[in-house]
């Protein structure tokens, strides 16, 4: 805050001498150091992914690989069925995102736009599902899906997303309540039904919130280990985290860290891409809220 103020209040006359603002410089250096520290683990991940098996065990560890083992990036496909794992994870994550956006978006819209008896109670009820940790519902849910013959299919991993999640409903509801009432009045005058208003007014204006929910849902599904472990039993249906966990699962062998880092680098790509796309939404969303 203070940094911005100092910068703005500096008289324009001194600008032609291009003097360095000490406060600005200090903050710049601090940011630079923090960035460096934050990127260091990431750097080590990439660097380790390019080391040979022998070099990976070396102490003290080498900063850069002595010989660049690009072949690791091919070996991961021989060690794990990496392509299959990646494809499975993507299918599940994308469908989870779609399911979460539709279901949580609809329910949140209902809670934000309608007043009625029991409304508060139902909302609290929905939120209270957040207090149930997964291990508590793990077995009952398994019994349910096993009666539906869904074991060893993707369905138990995807279908629940189409039934809303309390956290995302809460998040979207808070956003929907801030949308100006006038927009909906205008829609109603033009003869819009509620679903149409949800689709053409509420959703387009909520891009930043939807982007947030999409990221949450994607990361949750992408990283989820326990659920796929419980429900999937054939190797060709496994997801990325399940495959990667198998690399460190032996108590009696030294884990192939270099290959695990290769897998991590590749597994990070969709999340980085998603962040880049979503960031645009945040900026545009702030600009385009419509009414001031």
């Amino acid at each position: 805050m203070s940094i911005v103020r100092t910068a703005n209040h500096r008289p324009a006359a001194s600008a032609h001498r291009r003097r360095i603002d000490p406060v600005k410089a200090a903050s710049f250096i601090t940011l630079l150091i923090t960035t460096f520290l934050m990127l260091l683990p990431l750097f080590f991940m990439v660097s380790t992914s390019l080391k040979s098996k022998k070099e990976m065990l070396k102490f003290p560890p080498t900063f850069l690989p002595e010989s660049w083992a690009w072949s690791n990036y091919r070996d991961i496909f021989d060690t794990l069925q990496f392509g299959t794992l990646y494809k499975n994870s993507l299918i599940i994550a994308v469908l989870t995102v779609i399911g979460t956006l539709i279901s949580s978006g609809l329910v949140a819209y209902g809670f934000a736009r309608f007043r009625g008896r029991g409304n508060q109670f139902l909302f609290v009820l929905v939120l209270s599902t957040m207090m149930l940790p997964y291990p508590a519902i793990m077995i009952p849910q398994f019994v349910l899906f096993s009666h539906m013959n869904w074991i060893d299919t993707f369905l138990p991993l995807i279908v629940p997303a189409f039934f809303g999640s309390a956290y995302n409903i809460f998040l979207l509801r808070q956003f929907f309540t801030t949308l100006p009432e006038e927009l909906f009045d205008a829609g109603r005058i033009d003869g819009c039904g509620e679903l149409r208003m949800w689709w053409t007014i509420a959703l387009p204006l909520s891009a930043p919130a939807l982007a947030t929910v999409a990221i949450f849902a994607f990361i949750y599904s992408w990283n989820d280990l326990l659920t796929p472990v419980l429900y999937l039993s054939s190797s060709e249906k496994f997801t990325l985290p399940v495959g990667m966990a198998s690399l460190t699962s032996s108590r009696f062998r030294i884990p192939p860290w270099h290959l695990l880092m290769v897998a991590s680098v590749l597994a990070m790509l969709p999340i980085v891409t998603l962040f880049a796309l979503a960031q645009k939404q945040f900026v545009e969303g702030i600009v385009l809220t419509g009414i001031k």
Partner: protein, 461 residues
């Protein structure tokens, strides 16, 4: 705005969602009890032609899933049995097993590959008593070259619950390069060599230890990680659990963690770090080898007492290694820990007879030999197949491995983690409570009475 219809639609929507959530939360609580009870199903239908499928549950790692390659031959020999492999990562092994059993999808055969040991399975009543199956089948351990004392480990009150399949032991690995540099002769692999004692080991360790400000130059003589923490007093002859533990299924009637003998035993081990300064602190080990790593692998430790699984990576170590006997520490009966994995049939198995065929197949000499290569060095229990195991390690004399293994079986005691109930909780508690001693912030006299109290509580759970 307050249109009644819309209000109802919204309420219905919300109600539907809540109902869904509630439904998924409450259904099937009764599950665990109503699954078909074992032992009846397959008994009569041996030759009826209809093939049955049995499930083998194991860890999803290369040294366990190799069994998939053994299935085709088994199915050829047993056309009426099909084997399916169900697997989970180490961390989730126990959760998935519990869920499968509760959900009525119990596997047929497994071992205690997760955190929980045999005693936990036994006390949760998850295991099928194999005694009658064994009698009916005419199974004899000696036909499969399984030593009698190993068969007894998983027998409780004369009932057998598991057939041993693999056996790791505690042994000493030493870094030949460090021994050569210090001009020391290599330690013996013969357990009958009386000169090889704990004190002699400390003496040699002193000659190899070099503590320097430069972390890359620092090296230590010995890293003594004999068994899990609660078992270590046994090495010096002190017994922390009462004798009945080993015959009643792992529920000790008494424990003695605050006795002077037990405290003195722990003191000897911590003296290696703080008094003799020949062993690394846990911080140093972690900084060199990572959270669960072994600093021996980094070439910074002269002698490492630990599980024989450390041998498996031997071909990748950037230095020469040898194997030696665990030195005598004051206990004439026990010098090594055994880690014997049994194959067990779960109580809810619908085809125990076929499951037992699969178990027998896995312990035959031919399959045990094949498994060594396929798994990348899993030690067999079958003593005939073990000859092949002794030759498996490049640059290590097979005779040494053989002597060390045979000595370990003679002077071995099964690891407590397989034999005591609620063990994962005991072990976690030990790690936490001993932490301040390992960092030098507390003394054993302060900590051991607390441990004694907590162990008693955990056992009663």
């Amino acid at each position: 705005m307050n249109n009644r219809n819309r209000k109802t639609t919204a309420l219905l929507l919300a109600a539907g969602l809540t109902a869904m959530a509630a439904l998924s939360g409450c259904s099937g609580g009764k599950s665990a009890g109503n699954v078909a009870t074992g032992n009846n199903g397959a008994a009569g239908e041996g030759g009826s032609g209809e093939p049955v499928t049995i499930t083998y549950y194991t860890i999803d790692s290369e040294d366990r899933t190799f069994v998939e390659k053994l299935i085709p031959d088994f199915e050829k020999e047993h056309p009426n049995i099909q084997v399916k492999v169900e697997k989970a990562p180490y961390e989730q092994f126990d959760s998935k097993l519990q869920t499968l059993i509760a959900g009525g999808k119990s596997p047929d055969v497994t071992s205690h590959y997760g955190y929980g040991g045999f005693a936990e399975y036994y006390n949760k009543d998850m295991l099928l008593d194999l005694t009658d199956l064994i009698k009916e089948d005419g199974f004899k351990a000696e036909d499969y070259h399984i030593p009698d004392n190993l068969m007894k480990i998983y027998t409780v009150k004369d009932r057998t619950y598991g057939i041993p399949v693999n056996m790791y032991v505690t042994l000493m690995l030493y870094n030949k390069d460090m021994f050569d540099a210090a001009k020391l002769s290599y330690p013996p692999s013969d357990y009958e060599d009386k000169s090889w004692t704990f004190d002699k080991m400390v003496e040699e360790a002193k000659k190899m230890t070099l503590v320097s400000d430069d972390i890359a130059k620092t090296q230590y003589g010995v890293d003594f990680t004999w068994a899990e923490r609660d078992m270590r007093p046994l090495y010096f002859g002190a017994e922390p659990y009462s004798e009945d533990t080993w015959s009643n299924g792992g529920v000790p009637s008494e424990t003695h963690f605050d006795s002077p003998e037990v405290i003195a035993a722990y003191q000897k081990l911590f003296d290696l770090i703080f008094k003799d300064k020949v062993s690394p602190t846990s911080e140093w080990s972690k900084s060199v080898a990572g959270q669960n790593g072994d600093p021996f692998v980094a070439g910074k430790i002269g002698m490492s007492i630990g599980g024989s699984w450390n041998l498996a990576g031997a071909n990748d170590f950037p230095f020469k290694i040898g194997v030696a006997a665990v030195p005598w520490g004051g206990n004439d009966k026990v010098r090594s820990t055994l880690f014997v994995d049994p194959l067990m049939i779960l109580k809810d198995s619908k085809h125990p007879k076929e499951a037992f065929e699969w178990i027998k197949y896995l312990v035959t000499t031919e399959v045990q030999e094949k498994s060594i290569e396929l798994s990348g060095g899993n030690p067999p229990v079958n003593t005939e197949a073990a000859e092949a195991y002794y030759k498996h390690f490049e640059g290590i004399d097979p005779q040494d491995v053989k002597k060390v293994y045979e000595g370990a079986v003679k002077y071995g005691f099964e690891s407590y983690n397989h034999l005591i109930t609620n063990y994962s909780q005991i072990n976690d508690m030990f790690i936490n409570e001993l932490q301040p001693v390992e960092t030098g912030h507390k003394t054993l006299e302060e900590v051991m009475p607390v441990i004694q109290k907590k162990v008693t509580e955990i056992i009663k759970r």
